[in-house]
Symmetry: C2
Subunit: 554 residues, 2 copies
Amino acid sequence: MRRGSDVFSTSRGTVSERGRNRSWLLSSIITFNVLILGIALVSGSVFNNVKINAINLQIFLIVLIILTTAWMLYYTIYTSREDHAVLYKDSHAGPVWLRGGLVLFGLCSLIMDVFKIANYVGYLHCDSAVKIAFPVVQAVFILVQTYFLWLHAKDCVQLQRNITRCGLMLTLSTNLMLWMAAVTEESIHQTVVPPEDDNSTHSYDIRAPGGSSSCNCSHSACAVLEKAYYYLYPFNIEYSLFASAMAYVMWKNVGRLVDEHNHHSLHFRLKDMLVGPAVGLVMLVAGLGTFVIYKVDVEKGDPGKRDTVLMIHYVMNTVAVTLMSVSTVAGCAIYRLDQRDHVSGKNPTRSLDVGLLIGASFGQFTICYFTIVAVVATGAEGHLNALNLAVSLLTVIQLCLQNIFIIEGLHREPFHEDMHQASVFTNPYVLQAQAHRDIHNLPGTFMETKTSPALTVHSMHVAPSAPSSSPLPQRHRLTWKRRALKEICAFLLLCNILLWIMPAFGARPQFDNPIGAEFYEFTMWAAVVNIGLPFGIFYRMHSVASLFEVFLTS
Amino acid sequence: MRRGSDVFSTSRGTVSERGRNRSWLLSSIITFNVLILGIALVSGSVFNNVKINAINLQIFLIVLIILTTAWMLYYTIYTSREDHAVLYKDSHAGPVWLRGGLVLFGLCSLIMDVFKIANYVGYLHCDSAVKIAFPVVQAVFILVQTYFLWLHAKDCVQLQRNITRCGLMLTLSTNLMLWMAAVTEESIHQTVVPPEDDNSTHSYDIRAPGGSSSCNCSHSACAVLEKAYYYLYPFNIEYSLFASAMAYVMWKNVGRLVDEHNHHSLHFRLKDMLVGPAVGLVMLVAGLGTFVIYKVDVEKGDPGKRDTVLMIHYVMNTVAVTLMSVSTVAGCAIYRLDQRDHVSGKNPTRSLDVGLLIGASFGQFTICYFTIVAVVATGAEGHLNALNLAVSLLTVIQLCLQNIFIIEGLHREPFHEDMHQASVFTNPYVLQAQAHRDIHNLPGTFMETKTSPALTVHSMHVAPSAPSSSPLPQRHRLTWKRRALKEICAFLLLCNILLWIMPAFGARPQFDNPIGAEFYEFTMWAAVVNIGLPFGIFYRMHSVASLFEVFLTS
């Protein structure tokens, strides 16, 4: 009898594992192909004379969007009818700030689409109708997708896994394609080819594809609308990235069996904190002030003023980045003193967070190193170049330190008021679980046991209610460390918001300072900045989210 | 007593885990920074007028090489003195074909360096001495590194983990930088800016950095030497990639505890096989024949002949890719019929293989999709464009199918003459292990046990010696499937060698056919091809290695 059920489970397990591998491969290959075809279309629509244009790309996007929307509706209806479609939920996936951000950015994207529709209505008499169809379809898509992700972000789907994997990968590809298209359009809009550069005679179509020069708007609001919707682009870009991240985590969770233990509720409190938020707010306000001055004076186009404003911008950045580095070093030092455990166990959300953080920092690193090479190779004469070099070097250091700080922070067990060193010794469950977990780290021991998630969870549930015999001084020391960590997180968070807002709303010192475009050719430099900067913006954005999580858990 | 040791192991385990995370992060950050600085230098040396040149890049590389060589010598001496430095070996890491390939490509690279030294001696009176120093240092590095990897590729280092991790990451960065520099130089050498293109007035320094125009060689062998060493570049490029892959696997294995069970010895036999190798050899010979005609006629530069030769090249590729797709479909069908188990358990070598396969196919995919977009958008008139489109479409399909086939093949348990379905039922160890393994796949079951590697290993050791009661027909059916799979692998392997040799030795239909450069701007198209093609070459190379492994295990 026992043997029979074993054989059954064996064959069943193998089949399901094989099926998993196949649908993983298939869905990955679909994404791969959609994305590369998309890259080719985007490149073709940018670096091309006449033959292909934004219309072809938009038709491709509309097809993708319709397919994805149809799948999402099918999934929603199917799971609402079937009782056992979703048995498990991943408590780490889709935290409330992520879903809240999704709704917020989704709203901004909807407004952008409305502005776009109103704008293109003015061009309807002489331009393609596809240009109106695209924002309409996109608006519907944003509504459906936000609803879908809000409801289903935590699902660990067990039924129809193959279809669900492919559908989620389609969602991911669609969002990444929308992101790519938006980033390209935004970059082209922000890149003004300098008139003194002799390469501006190129036939590249570096123009906003809003309206061709021969077609005039039929109503008066066009100029205002176009300006308005370009300010909303950064939100749309973030919306696509948020949705991509959530779709990816859902894809990783398909077929996963997790226990439904509840997340420890973490409260957001700013009480008892002063220095971090205060200094951070001062930096934010000062930074926004210099940013406004910068934008106003650069748009005037006076070369003498431009140097002064660039100087102010660089000084502001140097101060911010230096303070951030110093506080991050302090934070890392506190981690070293700290005795908290590392979180073990698989967690697709956290792995994705860390991967995105490191991957996105690539963009900013690239721009910094390119600037450093250019400035050093040309001799770095004058205050402006010296400041430019200093900012780039300090930013590299800051990025390294911040990555270390955030990754360390994300891998720590959350602090709990009642759970500290002393209670570990009085709680047999915790001891047992930890001994199980750590036996692997002893050299020469055969890995015969592995701690089960159930056991760990159990110990975590028991711990707070265990009789605690903690001496008060120790608790006080913990509180001191916690407070310092929270202050640092709050400060870093506000500074990252500043460094996010400046490039997102159009600060381009890389083009206003001519050294990069002179040293590398203009096209090369434009490519580096236009590919690197969106990642840099996303990095700051993502750091804010991660720092918020570190703030909550520490 | 027991409690005391538990506490000890707990604190010790936590410390080691924390240390692991730190040194992982630190070594990753070092690599990250070295690589991005390297990319900036490479880009600066290519897309630049005068200010920075190949010399600066070579000085950077020399510094990297000296640091890496010093660390490798230190490691070799340290481990030979210390008794317990390497307790465990990963039997999957550094298989003999990988190490053999390393030695072979290392030899070719050494010859290349000798040619380079002889060549630059002729320029010594008017050019920088760094140009000679670089190949000298590189030759020493190749000798030391080949010796180091031959001896230590399987090591799972337990002592001095932090230093070892950083050292291995330094080795990885150095090899990737050498790879990047070689690929760039090779691409610049292969890219001849078409004279009819109006963009050739650009000031990009797209010239082989061998000798500047004002400096003449003092001995007569220069022209021959330069031609000779450019033919050896592909081998040097592969050498760097092989070394990078081995360094990466060693880095993943630092601190890993594995059991020292021996690899099942797999024998390479071509007996009983006819169709696959025969058809493959015919394809290879025919392909090399057309390749020679192509190279000879394209170098003559006659536009009329160029079209004919391009046609022959495309037809040859279409036939090869179609046959490959058909046989891959047959192979996947056999896998579906096949009852072999999937390999479970962690294996960094296999994960790396799969990752590299998918990652490297990106290059070829990109070129294909860019070609498809260009041909479709321009209307695809004439035989040449139709063939170009057909080749691109078929290559996309072939890449998808081949990736699926290889990944499925790598995840199968090896076939063993004595170990088949029947013996599983008579062997209690296997049953137990499989039941343990598959209990996770039953929905609703709590994950309380996990199969231990020790148990699985045990069962695999026992299985061949268990009393076997297999009916002969079943064994015969298995043999039929095995033979078909081996035939398919041999055919695919030979075809991949063909598709590897053609671009590696300078076939550039992407530039000989003007459609890409006309549709996209020339610089854009050159960037796509010059970045995509080295990955494409590596993909074919890596497929050959992976197919050889699938051939052995099936």
